[in-house]
Symmetry: C2
Subunit: 344 residues, 2 copies
Amino acid sequence: MKRVSIKDVAKEAGVSASTVSYVLNSTPTESISPETARRVMDAVKKLGYIPNLNARSLSSRRSNMIGVLIPQTEPGKELMFSNPFYGELLSSIEYTARQHGYHLLLSGTKEDQDYLSIAQNRGVDGIIIVGTYPGENLNALKQLGVPIVLVDSYVKDEAFHTIGIEDREGARMATRYLIEKGHRQIAFVSGSIRENGVNIKRYQGYCDAMQSAGLSVDEQSIYSGTVDYDYGITAAKEYVARGKKQTAAFVSADVISMGLIKGLQQNHVRVPEDLSIVSFDDVYLARMANPALTTVHQDIGEKGKQAVQLILDAAGFKEHRHTECILPLSLVERESVREWRNQP
Amino acid sequence: MKRVSIKDVAKEAGVSASTVSYVLNSTPTESISPETARRVMDAVKKLGYIPNLNARSLSSRRSNMIGVLIPQTEPGKELMFSNPFYGELLSSIEYTARQHGYHLLLSGTKEDQDYLSIAQNRGVDGIIIVGTYPGENLNALKQLGVPIVLVDSYVKDEAFHTIGIEDREGARMATRYLIEKGHRQIAFVSGSIRENGVNIKRYQGYCDAMQSAGLSVDEQSIYSGTVDYDYGITAAKEYVARGKKQTAAFVSADVISMGLIKGLQQNHVRVPEDLSIVSFDDVYLARMANPALTTVHQDIGEKGKQAVQLILDAAGFKEHRHTECILPLSLVERESVREWRNQP
DNA sequence: TTGAAAGCGCTAACAG
DNA sequence: CTGTTAGCGCTTTCAA
């Protein structure tokens, strides 16, 4: 039960603690004889020694931990995974980090919560923040001196690396697709449209497409709530209440689409017969939906991988070159859209 | 950029480092004058001091971190969240931990990987392991001297706290429900049926129900693969290939059911008209399915919460009382089952 | 009510 | 090639 320390190993191997340290870290500046190395390794094995990474990072200032912050952007939600997007992203981050010998320090946060303490506290080597907005908390982080990667955030600041997608262009692509399929009345359904957020970009892309097709964007076509399944159901009710004016909808997240489809069904509106849907993300839900969702595909796995990679790169070369990484988007055609002709 | 340490605060406040420490931790054995306390707090605020938790845990042996291990039990999957169950569970664990001022050290592991290093390394205060099997790695953990909670695991060992559900009973309940609805040919669909795993318990429950209804369990009714969407599709194909013998299926996870439904659809088998489905977990997917899944409900949020609570309790009283916690199950009726009468 | 001093376990110059 | 010597930033007896 007594933890074996580096000293115990040193004693067992008949060398000094630093020698053990050298062997274990294969410190490049020091060279140890094969013979000594072997003795040390034997002792390590015999004693079942496992280095205390806390102590190590205290003295070396590297922790091999990456902090991951998933802020609650939708007020009132306590849990992170109302949107499976986060799960998929985290999964990929974890996997990539582990491949490189890093562990993850995971935390959600209330939006007003202090990001700084969370990270600095633990001496993480880098921080990945998902979908945050500009604010005090972010600024405080800059002083930390560790690389910070913002995922899906429109905070513009040289101090942060960013990784994201062309939200606006993706939305435009999706909406144009519906227009090409003959739709004229097209709804826009999303979470809260906040400044500097992802949804406003998607809203703009929607407007772009509408406008370049000479279609007007009227208020009745805009549905905005929260990014979750339940809001999809709500939006469906709203759609019916507003008189089913639209023949198609661009929905800014697959989860919402899932709820929307369910809600529409309950109101005897068929997808895609009565309402076509193109959504966004292509989380695994998209394939599961019934009908399967035609959606803007983004490579979530790659997003996570790149986020970790950015941290590792930045940590390696101690230069603070600001990197901005934009991942490609594509439209995946499945079953939730039908062509709209001058009809009934 | 220079981190402010406890010494800086001490100097600023004109006291010693230990005094600062006392104030910050409100150490019970020491009492400080309100006046000094105020001076210290002022200095802390002025300098923007944030304690280094690494150093703290090095000397105090508490880290306020909980290690969470999500092993890959299905070989070949690198990512954790092929089953949304994990996401929901993690979400709840994170939330509860945060409420209590704890952070999460998250790691997946290959099954054969060394659990020990992951945890001991960082000096976590407790470990939560999800769905693991007995093995060497687990045993090594015992020597750590920190509380360990096994979630959904049938490892029997006084050294571990466990939290789980009555898998066998739940499966029996589900299967009996189908029998009561008039079904006689009932399939069992699950992930790999391994010894000491959750699936074998559910299999046994299935058998229990079949046998007490005087129904035989034949090999043709058993479908076993991996716990994911794709296997559901595979199972559907298999079902058709085997001649659509069954009128109902008990499926051991909602994700699989999702795939199953999709696969059946592709083969023009309707749910529930041609095949009724009862599944297990009641993740959010269950409601989203079309038809919505009749399923055995378990309170995943509570599971996570209890897991954290067990750690905190065990860490508080340093007694090693072994706790075993079983959460209740219930059947949620939705749309995926129909009554089966002597038909066509 | 406060401070001095001794570590926690490890790394990193710097000597030898 | 290896050991000595200082810390990293904090907690915690023990004395004052």
